[in-house]
Amino acid sequence: MYLRSDERGPAVSNRLALRIALFGGIAVVLFAILFFRLWRLQVLDGEQYLAEAKNNRTREYRVSAPRGEILDRNGELLVGNRTSLALQVNPRKLPEDRAERRAELSRLAGLTHSTLRRVRRTMHEELKLAPAAPVTLRRDVGRFLVYYLQENQDRFPGVEVQRVFVRDYPNATLAAHILGNVGEISPEELKDPRYKGLQPGDEVGQDGVEDTYDSILRGDPGLTRIQVDALGQPTPNGRLVSKPPAPGESLRLSIDAEVQAAGEAALAERGQGAFVTMDVNTGEIIGLGSSPTFEPELFTRPLTQKQVDDTYRNPAAPLANRAISGLYPTGSTFKIVPALAALENDVITPSEPIYDSGSITVGGQPFQNAGGEAYGSVSMARALQVSSDVYFYTLGLEMWDTGDLQRTAHMLGFGQTPGIDLPGDTEGLLPSRRWRNQLFEEGKTDRPWSAGDNIQLATGQGDLQASPLQMAIAYAALGNGGTVVTPHVGKEVTDAQGRVLREFAPPPRRRIPIDPEYRSVILDGLHDAAQAPGGTSYEVFGGFPVPVAGKTGTAQRVGQADQSWYLVLAPYPDPKIVTAVTIEEGGFGAESAAPAALDILEAYFNKHTTGPAGPNGGSPG
């Protein structure tokens, strides 16, 4: 029924009233929807949107902080920083047109020796984490590339060059294995709580003290928070927060650059090997090196294929730190351990002689002196001086099923990680009755523990595996009277002004009781070995002005020439330092390792000119 134009009176009919009421009802519902929606957005979820809004209008730019410097114990700079130019792409300023963008990125990829795909992937990954922030394509670009880009700016919109800090190594390879290197944080590292708060592209220490002391060296990146408009352009007066970057603190190492350099030079001229020089009382590492070495500088810029091959695929493994992770039989240098074990457990007295006929036969198997020599009747000191294998074979035989040798070796740190503040130290292997018998039960070896095993162990052969650092710790314990130190290269943390913030003095791992009498007997034997005629290294150390106690070692390795070892405590009789040297395929201990140790001690004592108190203690014996 349609309305009629002339209808009058009560303005609305009932049917129309119904329609209008319905209409009003719909309006009420619509307004209610709007009100509730508004309530929900502003009152219930307001906080969340406010946070979103704040995030929306600010951009954070991180300003990288220079890493702390690394110094040697005398303040000589080992690792510094230099500024370098990094190529960045600002994604908001790239051409909008896809084809143009693609063309520019591929031109850039060409200039930076990369591929379009790699550039794209880098950008994609970084933008996912920090939207709209500039993406660093390459660090340490050459000046010529920068000039080229600046001259052709119109062809490279959105490409920027930024100054960044890059590690600088004034001494090239010096202490490379201790220092390690820095590199961009990896996706796995990002998940590590240790690296909390870091972002992709940030640099962290990747090895050596750069890794161990990363949190100290790293510093805090500066943060500039800028208010931006919808186009990402900074608004006037829009700088909200500006936190300057805090440079990392400096790390002073216990390394002495001169000793370190002497040690590395001594190794370099003798082939592959390692050395450790350590303070016997504190465990401070004065020098520690591994040969062959590498240039940490290498890692501050992208590696070429040849460099990758030379470093990672080189059979000589220049990156490996042989001083802490090299595992070798130690030869006769190990003999102080059976000596100590036999004396402390009353297996033998210092003066009790053993007749050395040149060989002994155990279980039908002959064990001979190296070189086939026969020393006749020898006591402890003499046995150490001439390195009588038969004497120690006998001790090994005596203790073959008592476990005394293993207990003492274990106390001195064999078979355990030394706990040095460098990544990569290893525990090695201390063969024992239980170890071999268990292997045998599991069918992994053809025979159970036998006297022969212990006889081999007593001369540092057989299954024994130890690192030069472990040997140095054992000798240090002998030298200092029984303290098994915790070796460390970190000495103290200083701020940018050189004030000491923190000192590192890790407590010793343990103290073991060593009878002073026994200690001096062994030291006497070692001293005679080094500086008395007839001693195994007399030819090397006989003329050295500082009295020392040193032991050669010649370790036989399957399929290789003998490995040369030398362990020396100086000055005798109250040693301050211990030096361990090993040269792979270096022959007799006195042939290559001992001369290398001499070079190191010369460097050390040239500096510490206090010299030996009183007359030269080169007493023959």
């Binding site: 134009s5 303005a11 929606r37 502003q42 009152v43 208010q227």
Partner: protein
């Protein structure tokens, strides 16, 4: 109506000369209606004065001044229209309808293009958008046709006729292209038919047709390779269903508006507002002005504005029932729906529950055509009110 007055004067010999207010017709106007409309316009000017200071370099009051002038012009127009008996428009329906269609069509020839769409004439002092005024003209003409054709043909024929009459200008506007306004025209057409008494069954059929058409336009046509909507239109229409999928495109505006409004919380952020101040919300002085209000003045401010609209609509609905004749009822109904539709769609779009259709918020959004046309529509409502009061008074006097 003048006759009424004359009669009344004759019958009241002792009546004093009508006072100045009465001569201006003020006592018979719907005061609250004018008040709410004025308050909205004032709030619009206030909001613009705070939020558009830096929009036009060198003239901080660019939008404020213009919006104030438009409002004053609009109020003047409202008053003039209120003084005219709206019933005359019924007689002019053919002229009005012709003017409506011609003015919209002329835009295709003389209009200037803004953002890919021709909607307005560039007049010396402002740009005139005929489709805005067209909302009122369509109501006036269509209501006339409904009243006049009430006895011609079957129900079905009439329904088809009204639909054609209403949808012709809607189609013209759609071609500009101005999707939002054409939807308003559609809503007006349906509203006038609804108040005019078109049977429920017909609405059911129309509703089904709309659903089918929407499905065809949004899904089927693009699938068979002849899209009827421009890409950006489809995206706008559907992005509110999945606003977070791509913050950089269509959903972006909606997300930003929502963030802006939400961040206003209860009491608003005032000058600390950032979303609507720093260009995060596009079109913030026109289509997204509600987001500005939401962020700056919070729930209190936004709810206040919504309440003003609710009150405005209540007064309009009241006038629908008061009207002295059916033409007035139809016109008031059409105007009321046109206002409600625009408010709901615009605010809903700001709140992220309606698609982005480019419909301005009546009286709040910056723009001369919209503000003035809305005031004129309010003027027509006032006219219906005044005429109703006058006729009632006459009756009481009898």
């Amino acid at each position: 109506m003048y006759a009424t007055r004359a009669r009344q004067a004759k019958l009241e010999p002792f009546a004093v000369r009508p006072g100045i207010a009465e001569r201006l017709g003020l006592p018979y106007m719907d005061g609250p209606l004018a008040l709410f409309a004025g308050a909205l316009a004032a709030f619009s000017v206030f909001t613009l004065s705070q939020s558009t200071l830096h929009d036009v370099p060198g003239s901080p009051n660019y939008f404020v001044d213009r919006q104030a002038v438009y409002s004053v012009l609009g109020i003047a127009g409202m008053y003039l229209l209120a003084r005219i008996d709206y019933s005359r428009f019924r007689e002019l329906r053919v002229g009005i309808y012709t003017f409506l269609c011609v003015s919209i069509s002329l835009v295709f020839v003389f209009g200037f293009a803004a953002r890919g769409s021709r909607r307005a004439f560039d007049l010396p002092f402002f740009s005139f958008q005929p489709s805005e005024l067209g909302k009122l003209l369509l109501v006036l003409a269509l209501a006339g046709f409904v009243i006049d054709g009430a006895r011609n043909g079957s129900d079905r024929q009439r329904t088809v006729r009204y639909l054609c009459l209403g949808l012709a200008p809607a189609a013209l506007v759609f071609l500009q292209p101005d999707l939002g306004t054409s939807l308003v025209y559609g809503a007006i057409t349906l509203a006038v038919m609804y108040v005019g008494g078109v049977p429920w069954t017909h609405f059911a059929v129309i509703g089904a047709a709309i659903v089918a058409m929407a499905a065809f336009v949004l899904a089927v046509a693009p699938a068979i390779g002849t899209p009827l909507l421009k890409d950006y239109q489809t995206e706008r229409l559907t992005s509110f269903l999945h606003p977070s999928e791509d913050p950089s495109d269509a959903g972006y505006q909606q997300n930003q508006a929502k963030t802006a409004i939400g961040s206003g919380e209860t009491t608003g952020r005032g000058d600390r507002a950032t979303q609507t101040r720093l260009d995060f919300v596009p079109e913030r002085h026109t289509d997204f002005i509600f987001a500005v209000i939401g962020e700056r003045y919070g729930f209190l401010g936004a709810a206040f504005v919504l309440s003003l609209y609710a009150l405005l609509f209540w007064r309009a609905l009241r006038i629908v029932t008061l009207s002295k004749n059916s033409y007035g009822t139809l016109v008031a109904g059409g105007i009321a729906v046109s206002l409600l539709f625009q408010v709901f769609v615009n605010v809903g779009m700001n709140l992220g529950i309606m698609p982005i259709t480019g419909i301005p918020l009546p009286l709040m959004s910056y723009g001369g055509s919209s503000v003035i046309a809305t005031f004129l529509a309010i003027g027509v409502l006032e006219s219906i009110h005044i005429q109703a009061r006058l006729s009632q008074r006459g009756r009481f006097a009898w």
